[in-house]
């Protein structure tokens, strides 16, 4: 029963308490901060209270629902299964981490009430999204999450870049929202219900083409939300947000909504997922390509948050790729994806927290202006070493296990090219992590830093980072236990020792270490050179600098095309509809004049004939200017024919 209450409270509490933030915020800032942290703590407790229920439950899922719009048969409900609990716990935990971190990071900012309000609203919405028991409720939270993301990205609304970035993110994720909505609409049209349970039970009744369309549309939604190709560019723009927000939304939780969606859909589809033509391969390929592209972009950017953003894109690609390698007889990929999802949350979250501290200290995001920070910020440096090692997937840190599982799954079921690309990405990951460290911490202080008095990050910001660092180290060893919790069929393969003794491990290291190092060394040198020669014509550098031209494509071709199209429409509207009444009036007048003139001319022609032949004797009538009897008769006969034709057309002969 406790789980029943807590499963509802865990998402309703943050939503409701977010409304109190402005109230308390008016009284005092400290009370507000304390309130937010306490609420976050309670949410974490509630979330963790769900774990035993699922762990010891023999049922597939614990459900509970209440009528919401009774007239339409729409209910609100919670769907407690390993997947949703995993996400709930992660979101709640990260909410707490970020709430504490924000105390330090956002100190002294204006508009904190708004910030905390959206923070709590986001936590509530995100948990609501993963715990919903029907598509409609899920979609509503999906939209709310997007709204929170938009509002938090534009938090510094006085900075035009923030506002622009917020709008860009909002618009790009909108594409996915529309896809998802279409999918839900199709599903509802086919089944007449939004409920997961009903859908699971009746999914087989949907014709395969419709189901394929639904699955691909859902994939579209996931692509936009999880920043996959080709809609990945918004995530870099989202880095205009405060770093704490980036850590929470754009690394740990919100961007995982797409992963959640696909993972959930695979559960709902069940065995049908494997009969959908091209669907799982598409998921896998999108993931692999995104992973590779994201890693190459991370190699090049000078923005400290940009590295993390592209890294996130890349790691999300890993998760998608893993989801795509699910087969009928092995759900290892599914598990690997979720496992990596959590690992990624830890190491990328840690990365953002550290980056936040660095930005806080040096006041810039450009890594070229940093360097030599290892002496000034030793603790940050130590933590970032853990972060980098974890990101690269070196044992025995978390990502070693999760990434290893993904590659194992891909090797077992995927195709060779995917596996090669994944290995290459892993090597690239190592390379860009090295570059990140080198640019930021190694070398000498830049001129920029010489002018500043740089200091170590405050303790309040380091504490959450330390917690995450510990988790980065420990998380990998949870693997077998998590396997049981997630109830996967391939439990046996998940021995820790097995991970080390796996055939992939040596290959992994063989590739990762040397290749990554080589890439790093060559590229780092190159980039050093390139930094001096800005107008480098190296095609690879140009391509990477422009992020594979995705943004240019969207802005220059699509956006500009739309703009010129709409301005064309506007001009047309101005010229046509602006003068429309006049145009109509003048055209009617000219039409009438033309008809009149035509008839007059005809009439005059006929008049002369009539006057000369038929009415020769009627001398008076010759003077009359408009006489056209024959014409009238001709018209009457035409009318007769018209009636005849109309009658025959409507009635038939």
């Amino acid at each position: 029963m406790l789980s029943d209450v807590s499963s509802w409270l865990v998402w309703i509490l943050p939503l409701v308490s977010s409304l109190f933030v402005p109230l308390i915020g008016r009284k005092s800032g400290k009370a507000r901060n304390a309130f937010v942290v306490i609420i976050s703590l309670i949410i974490v407790a509630l979330a963790f209270s769900l774990v035993p229920n699922v762990y010891f439950s023999s049922e597939e899922a614990l459900e509970s629902s209440a009528p919401w719009i009774p007239s339409s048969g729409i209910t609100a409900g919670v769907f407690i299964d390993p997947l949703s609990v995993l996400f709930t716990v992660l979101v709640a935990f990260f909410g707490l981490i970020i709430a504490i971190y924000s105390l330090g990071y956002m100190k002294g900012e204006e508009g904190l009430t708004r910030y905390y309000f959206f923070l709590l609203l986001f936590i509530g919405s995100m948990i609501g999204l993963v715990i919903s028991d029907n598509f409609l409720q899920m979609f509503i939270f999906w939209e709310m999450v997007g709204l929170c993301s938009y509002s938090l990205i534009s938090f510094w609304y006085k900075r035009p870049e923030s506002v622009r970035a917020g709008a860009k993110v909002f618009l790009m994720t909108r594409i996915g929202d529309i896809c998802l909505l279409a999918a839900i609409g199709l599903l509802y049209a086919s089944l007449g219900s939004f409920s997961f349970r009903y859908t699971i039970d009746h999914i087989a009744t949907i014709p395969l083409p419709t189901l394929t369309a639904i699955a691909f549309l859902v994939l579209g939604g996931a692509i936009a939300k999880s920043a996959q190709l080709p809609l990945h560019t918004w995530l870099y723009s989202a880095m205009e947000a405060p770093t704490s927000v980036s850590a929470l939304l754009h690394a740990a939780t919100m961007v995982k909504a797409g992963v959640y969606l696909i993972a959930r859909l695979i559960l709902i589809l069940g065995p049908l997922a494997f009969s959908l033509p091209m669907w799982l391969p598409t998921v896998a390929w999108i993931g692999v390509l995104t992973a590779f592209l994201g890693a190459t972009l991370a190699m090049h950017t000078h923005d400290i948050k940009g590295v993390l953003a592209y890294s996130t894109i890349s790691q999300l690609g890993f998760m998608m790729a893993a989801l795509g390698t699910v087969t009928a007889h092995s759900d290892l990929g599914w598990f690997a994806s979720l496992f990596h999802m959590v690992s990624h949350a830890f190491f990328e979250g840690l990365g953002f927290l550290l980056a936040g501290g660095i930005i806080h200290a040096v006041g810039t995001r450009d890594m070229r202006l940093m360097g030599g920070l290892r002496k000034i910020m030793p603790l940050t440096f130590a933590l970032s070493i853990i972060m980098i090692v974890t990101t690269s997937g070196l044992p025995p840190f978390a990502a070693f296990f999760s990434k290893g599982l993904i590659i194992t799954s891909a090797t077992e079921t995927g195709n060779l090219f995917q596996v090669i690309l994944l290995y290459a990405t892993a090597a690239l990951t190592f390379a860009y992590s090295l570059r990140f460290t080198a640019l930021t911490f190694m070398g000498k202080k830049s001129e920029h830093l010489e002018k500043l008095h740089v200091h170590e990050a405050p303790k309040l910001m380091l504490l959450p980072a330390v917690v995450l660092a510990v988790l980065c180290i420990a998380w990998g060893f949870v693997e077998p236990w998590l396997g049981v919790f997630m109830r996967i069929h391939a439990e046996g393969e998940l021995s820790l020792l097995g991970a080390f003794l796996n055939l992939e491990t040596p290959i992994f290291f063989a590739i990762l270490g040397p290749v990554g190092l080589i890439i790093y060394l060559t590229y780092y040198k190159n980039s050093e050179v390139m930094m001096k020669r800005r107008n480098s014509s190296n095609p690879l550098a140009v391509v990477l600098k422009h992020g594979y031209f995705f943004d240019d494509f969207y802005e220059k071709i699509i956006a500009r095309g739309v703009v010129s199209f709409s301005s064309g429409v506007r001009r047309l509207e101005g010229s046509v509809f602006g003068n429309f009444p006049q145009l109509v009036a003048s055209s009617i007048v000219s039409l009438a004049n033309a008809v009149h003139k035509y008839l007059d001319v005809l009439a005059d022609e006929l008049l002369s004939i009539v006057a000369h032949r038929t009415l020769r004797s009627a001398s008076q009538m010759k003077k009359v200017p408009s006489s056209s009897l024959q014409h009238y008769i001709a018209a009457a006969l035409l009318g007769f024919l018209l009636i005849l034709v109309l009658i025959i057309v409507t009635i038939g002969v």
């Binding site: 009036a585 009617i588 007048v589 039409l591 009438a592 004049n593 008809v595 009149h596 009627a618 008076q620 009538m621 003077k623 009359v624 408009s626 006489s627 056209s628 009897l629 014409h631 009238y632 008769i633 018209a635 009457a636 035409l638 009318g639 007769f640 018209l642 009636i643 005849l644 109309l646 009658i647 025959i648 057309v649 409507t650 009635i651 002969v653």
Partner: protein, 497 residues
């Protein structure tokens, strides 16, 4: 026999008075008080005719009967080779009332308008009385032949009204009119002969009965097309309408008023009666699409031609064509709503066009013909301009005039039918109509006149004009007066499919 007497009394009395008018006017001409005596004579005429119609009305109108109140076959057998039949139902009584009242109004105007010194005007009056008799006979007819005879008498006879002033234009247009009418008669006769051949009778009810059991419809189709074309010529449906603007513009104002107020409405009545309620029993012919197309054409062409006219009289004449379209729109719905709209439109359309022609007759006397001439007329002839302004409002369908209610009824009837697109055309055309009518109003009131001379308006002519103005406004403000009257006819009309 008493019943037959009831029916023919208005007709007989009008015919008799028409014949008596010639000798009576000889006597009046000798007297000093010509105008008073003329008025007295016509008062008598319309008192007697009005009494005869009132007798019919009081006796039969409003009786709860689904069938015609009276159905009199003059010969013994309904299917005799030549038979004649009269019948009285709600619609025919209503039409008789309208015809009598409008005729009286036109007469009141004509007495002052027609210059009796130059030409023996009594013939003119006699013809008008005869035409009124023919019209009333037409609406009381009970079989197709009787209807044909009476209606052709009215239609052909009205040619004489056009040539009262023997101007070349009037002669020309009257000739054209007569030729068209003859063609129409030929069409109708041919169609009727086919119907007779198919059914063996011309009696309304017998024809209708026979048609419902008709096996082969091909000949009926042909008959229908001929009759429809014939009556469309007489009702001036586009493209059969060309004679109408010519004829009305060339005719003297009183004639134009009479033609538009009586003959026009009579032609719609015949069209509706024959085409909708006799030749098309349910399931025999569904020809409403044809009618809808014609209605749309008529509205559009009528209004477009009115738009480009500079001559105000031709403009009003073209509005008469557009009015035909509005009436057809109401017919297409073939429901009691449509019939209600039609019957209301007969009165309001007749009154408004008559008002417009009468006022124009008054204004034309002073040489104002084109829109340019009308500049500043509101200052020169305030009362006549006011009357024309109200006529324009009613044409345009401005609320609180009769025209609004008429158009409203028509639109509401057609909106619910399957030709709801006609309503859109009608509304668009009304907007167009408002536009060009307000151009006229603009000339009258906003433009500066060429000279500021004020004209003394003849009071006598303004009396009938303002009676019609009063009718338009009363009907517009209290449409229930007329609607209550119509309601009996609508409820009782037995022939709606």
């Amino acid at each position: 026999m008493v019943e037959l007497f009831d029916v023919v009394l208005p007709i007989i009395s009008l015919v008799a008075f028409s014949l008596l008018t010639l000798p009576v006017f000889k006597a009046i001409r000798k007297s000093h008080r010509k105008t008073a005596l003329t008025l007295a004579w016509f008062s008598t005429v319309f008192a007697v005719t009005g009494a005869a119609v009132a007798n019919l009305t009081l006796k039969y109108y409003g009786l709860p009967s689904p069938q015609p109140f009276l159905n009199i076959t003059v010969t013994d057998a309904a299917s005799a080779t030549l038979s004649s039949a009269f019948m009285i139902d709600g619609v025919s009584v209503y039409m008789a009332i309208i015809f009598t009242a409008l005729s009286a109004a036109v007469f009141l105007y004509s007495v002052f308008y027609v210059d009796s010194s130059q030409r023996p005007s009594e013939r003119y009056y006699a013809v008008m009385l005869m035409l009124t008799a023919a019209l009333i006979g037409g609406v009381f007819s009970g079989d197709l032949l009787t209807l044909f005879i009476f209606w052709e008498a009215a239609a052909a006879g009205s040619g004489f009204l056009m040539v009262y002033k023997k101007t070349p234009a009037a002669l020309n247009s009257a000739l054209k009119y007569l030729v068209m009418i003859i063609i129409a008669s030929a069409f109708v006769v041919f169609g009727l002969s086919l119907v007779y051949g198919l059914t063996g009778t011309l009696n309304f009810w017998a024809v209708k009965q026979a048609l419902t059991t008709l096996a082969d419809k091909h000949l009926l189709l042909l008959a229908f097309v001929f009759i429809a074309a014939g009556y469309a010529i007489e009702a001036a449906v586009v493209p059969f309408h060309f004679w109408l603007p010519d004829a009305y513009a060339a005719a003297p104002a009183s004639s134009a008023a009479f033609l538009s107020a009586l003959i026009d409405q009579g032609s719609y009545y015949v069209l509706i009666r024959v085409l909708v309620f006799i030749l098309t029993p349910p399931g025999v012919l569904d020809w409403t699409f044809m009618l809808a197309v014609m209605a749309a054409l008529t509205m559009v062409v009528g209004n477009l031609f009115a738009l480009i006219q500079d001559d105000v009289k031709r403009l009003i004449a073209n509005i008469c064509v557009a009015d035909v379209g509005y009436n057809l729109v109401a017919i297409t719905s073939v429901t009691s709503d449509g019939l209600r709209g039609n019957l209301f439109f007969f009165l309001v359309g007749g009154v408004t066009t008559a008002l417009a022609f009468m006022t124009l007759g008054l204004i034309n006397r002073y040489g104002f013909k084109t829109l340019e001439d009308f500049s500043g007329l509101g200052r020169k002839m305030p009362l006549a301009s006011l009357a024309l302004f109200i006529a324009a409002l009613s044409f345009a369908g401005v609320p609180s005039t009769g025209g609004f209610m008429a158009k409203y009824l028509v639109v509401s009837a057609v909106v619910n039918s399957k030709f709801s697109w006609l309503a859109i055309i009608l509304v668009l055309m009304s907007v167009l109509q408002t536009a060009y009518l307000f151009r006229l109003v603009n000339y009258m009131y906003a433009k500066k006149p060429k000279d500021e001379t004020k004209i003394k308006e003849p009071f006598k002519l303004l009396v009938p004009i303002f009676i019609l103005v009063a009718i338009i406004i009363i009907v517009g403000v209290y449409p229930n007066i007329v609607l209550d009257l119509i309601e009996h006819a609508v409820q009782q009309f037995p022939l709606i499919p």
